[in-house]
């Protein structure tokens, strides 16, 4: 796929920066240069590229983020079991080590690429791009990118996804959105997971979690699900179907209008 995009993006960035930069001389003989470019320009550029690839192949990409152990992989397993006949799914798994999660997904007959980040606490757009080389996007409708379990670092790196899905398990505090505002502000949907445990955890109130999300000026839908019992899965799957249809409709529009839609996902 990179015959068309050309993956050497550092040079492309240099060129972009050259156009914006302004030079001025200070009294001391030093030169002050106004740059005004995003600190993550390199990553954002690659992310834009990834998004173009997804759009070109008609794929909806969802970045799945949460703390470690909130049930991301089991949610994906249940979702695959429910939607596997309807859509062609694929998964990119991000973990510091092991191939375990990708093996769980492959066991369900769905292509899965494992990215092991080593010590890196997040996925970035370049890692996702490399993983895309191993997936045939023409055979995919819906791609989940399961990020490294972490509520801080992944929030800073655009991967080229169309939507951010955040899991918050009931074994965590219901004030998590207030503690991690950068992450929860970017959510397009929040799933409160492991709701089968709610009877044992009387200090987690889903309405309080939702209130903290609203305080971040985020109107994203909040669903309670238990991947274990299946409770609440219908509402989540209905939202996914709706987003798949909305994405198809968007892809029918001009590229300029489409990129407007994702502006709020990008960092300046």
């Amino acid at each position: 796929m990179c015959e068309t995009c050309g993956c050497n993006l550092t040079q492309a960035n240099e060129h972009l920066l050259a156009e914006d930069a302004k030079l001025a001389h200070t009294a001391s003989g030093r030169e002050a240069l106004e740059v005004l470019s995003g600190l993550l320009a390199e990553n954002d550029h690659q992310a834009g590229h990834n998004r173009d690839h997804f759009d070109h192949h008609g794929v909806l990409a969802i970045n799945l983020m949460s703390s470690p152990g909130s049930g991301k992989t089991v949610l994906l397993e249940r979702t695959i079991q429910s939607l596997g006949e309807e859509f062609r799914l694929a998964v990119i798994e991000g973990d510091l080590e092991t191939e375990n999660d990708a093996q769980r997904i492959r066991a369900l007959g769905v292509p899965a690429m494992q990215i092991t980040t080593g010590s890196a606490c997040h996925l970035d757009a370049h890692m996702v791009h490399q993983a895309l080389h191993h997936l045939d996007l023409d055979e995919v409708d819906l791609l989940f990118i399961e990020n490294v379990g972490n509520l801080v670092c992944p929030a800073s790196f655009d991967l080229g996804q169309h939507l951010n899905l955040i899991l918050l398990s009931v074994t965590e505090g219901d004030d998590k959105p207030a503690k991690y505002p950068v992450m929860f502000r970017a959510a397009d949907a929040v799933l409160i997971s492991k709701t089968d445990l709610l009877p044992f955890l009387d200090d987690f109130r889903p309405d309080q979690a939702e209130a903290r999300i609203r305080e971040l000026a985020n109107p994203a839908p909040v669903f309670g699900v238990s991947a274990k019992t299946g409770s609440g899965m219908d509402a989540w799957l209905a939202w996914l179907r709706q987003e798949m249809a909305a994405h198809k409709a968007r892809l029918g529009r001009s590229p300029e209008l489409r990129s407007e839609d994702w502006k709020h996902h990008r960092h300046p």
Binding site: A18, A21, L33, L39, P181, R212, P219, H267
Partner: protein
């Protein structure tokens, strides 16, 4: 932890610009970071101390301007400051607000020097080869 990755990306960008401008040294880097930018200025400073070694910015000062959060209310049209985890309208309390400022993560400007040219320029300002 991701502050180190961000620092490395910053330094790549800074070195590219410095080389393009023919500078041999970067003396100051000025960033603008908002509370919703996703980085801790203090951690960024620490990471910078390690990441800058061996680069054109090895002796550069990193200056981080911290921006304020400013929201615009879609219901009552008011504008005002807000807290990172409370982005409600400061006037009517609505959550239907749009962030105007506060998620910046910007390389604002650089200060560069050209040591070699300074040494080769005589008192009348002529350059020697």
């Amino acid at each position: 932890m991701h502050e180190l990755s961000i620092c490395q990306a910053l330094l790549r960008q800074v070195e590219d610009i410095a080389r393009r401008e023919g500078a041999d040294r970067v003396t100051k880097i000025i960033l603008r970071v908002g509370p919703l930018g996703g980085v801790e200025p203090q951690l960024l400073q620490q990471a910078f101390g390690f990441a800058r070694v061996g680069t054109l910015a090895a002796e550069a000062e990193l200056s981080i301007e911290e921006a304020e959060i400013l929201v615009h209310c879609l219901d009552c049209d008011a504008e005002g400051q807000a807290l990172a985890n409370r982005l409600l309208c400061p006037v009517c309390g609505s959550y239907r607000t749009r962030l105007l400022r506060g998620d910046e993560l910007i390389l604002a400007s650089l200060e560069l020097t050209r040591t070699t040219r300074d040494l080769l320029t005589d008192s009348e300002g002529y350059e020697h080869v």
